[in-house]
Amino acid sequence: MTAPSQAVSHLQPVLRLLSLPKRMRLGVGPMIAAVVLLIIVLASLFAPLYIPHDPLAIDALNRLKGPSDAFPLGTDAFGRDLFSRVVMGGRVSLFIGVGAAIVSVGLGLVIGLVSGFFRSADAVIMRIMDSLMAIPSILLAIALVALNGPSLWSVICAITIPEIPRVVRLVRSVVLTSREEPYVEAAIALGSSMPKILWQHLMPNTLAPLTVQGTYICASAILVEAILSFLGAGVSTEIPTWGNIMAEGRLYFQIKPMLIFWPGLMLSLCILSINLLGDTARDLLDPRLKKREA
């Protein structure tokens, strides 16, 4: 007697999840974006299982060839398979994007919490953040990579540092508005420790805007990586990324524009999807917007 109802209750969360887009009245756009992004992520994650060639294997006889059975998208100037390089490049580009987003959100969150809560630290921290924001991020990033060498981590660091001030500002503004709330006062009155107040009472307020910000940082990190590679300050070409495939293709642009077109298309689709999902998340999480629609 109880078994069927239990089964239904087990299914409940799944059903709820499936009907989520409908209940939230999402359009077709975000759905397509989610599917495209999912395909790109899965294709990149499982790339080693299905790529036809080693992305680094040089084939001197097949340089700059057009698409064929052996090379689905043709080859680059070293005879390397463009298809294998593009899907493997997606792995590294996505890794850089997600890595930069996590590191900058994490560091920005801690600095922002401290800055928003402690008035004495605030002035100093915010001046430093203002200054960091004044430095053009691309210049700062290429300078950092040029000085620290073109490794994957130095590229992630170079992308992260200019993003931190934006996260700090966001977290700080949330903390400033919520620190005056009665529950924070109550927590202080009850003698909660400072880290506990920051982490348990104030931090949860920042999660929604940070999720949105994180998606934007992820998208912009993938873009910045491409620009860094393009300017010659990116990850070395032994690790293919969408950026450095395009940077190499640039020399042969007039002969074979596809060397820029395919990675460029993948990168743009990926960033487009991430941005669209970020916009959707922002609209859903912004209470002001909801009120206006009602």
Binding site: R127, I128, D130, S131, L132, M133, A134, I135, P136, S137, I138, L139, L140, I142, A143, L144, A146, L147, N148, A219, L223, A226, I227, F230, L231, G232, A233, M246, R250, F253, Q254, P257, I260, G264, L267, S268, I271, L272, N275, L276, D279, R292
Partner: protein, 313 residues
Amino acid sequence: MIGYIFRRVLAVIPVITIVAVFVFLLLRLTPGDPAAIIAGDAATPAQLEKIRTSLGLNDPLPVQFATWVGHLFQGDLGISLISNTSVSSMIADRIWPTINIAIMTIILSVVLAVPMGVLAAWRHRTWADYAVMSFSVLGFSVPVFVIGYIFIQVFSIELRWLPVQGYTAPSQDFGKFLSKAILPCLTLATIYVALIARMTRASMLEVLGEDFVRTARAKGVSETVVLFRHALQNAAVPILTIIGTGFALLISGVVVTESVFNIPGIGRLTVDAILARDYPVIQAMILLTSALYVFINLLIDVSYSLIDPRIRY
């Protein structure tokens, strides 16, 4: 008002100072010997010593900083390690192409983006709105250099309407300048237009819901006047702010665009300097662009009260 401007100008000083300290420390705090980083692997001890003395790397850090700042105040940005000429003259030689392209881009972007944003807000949730928003999301998603190459491929290679690359000074031949500057400006404008149009739309949407807009419409003011005088003027502050903060995007864009289109401006100068590790040039360029960014945002901050009489200080 004057008190506000004074305070706002004073607030710039710590920001610029910290930028200067940061730029100064960027090289000194890098792990390893800065001279070796600049000179590369194949340097002889004599070369290293030359770099150390020319940068003053043998002095203690505070002394180095004081000397550097002292020289800055005299307008001396240092001597390039590669070309051995003064950095200020190098910048002076290369700055005009960048300024010309940047000004053209800003004008083009504002002229395109503001009407686009107004249209999107006015026709909210129609195809016009969706078209503007799609363009805006697309503009953020395609790397600047890919846009540049697409333009070159379409307009220069396929259609042969415009030259592929290069730069001619407007004083030399204005027609040639225009034909060569159009594509770089369009390329550079894409992301800026996307940014400004999106902000204009959001800000206008907010304002169009206000009572005074309804009143203006009710008393029979023509729609154009409602949109561009009543609404846009009240929506102007966030739009101006984004034009100011978007200036950072423009600087990044200039660096890339000048490389794509082979324009001998300061963007290229900076990239070449960074790749050659010509440190005095890097320092000067980062400092200069940051100061410019701060200055422009200062101007915009101060101009708020001129545009929006509700803002008083």
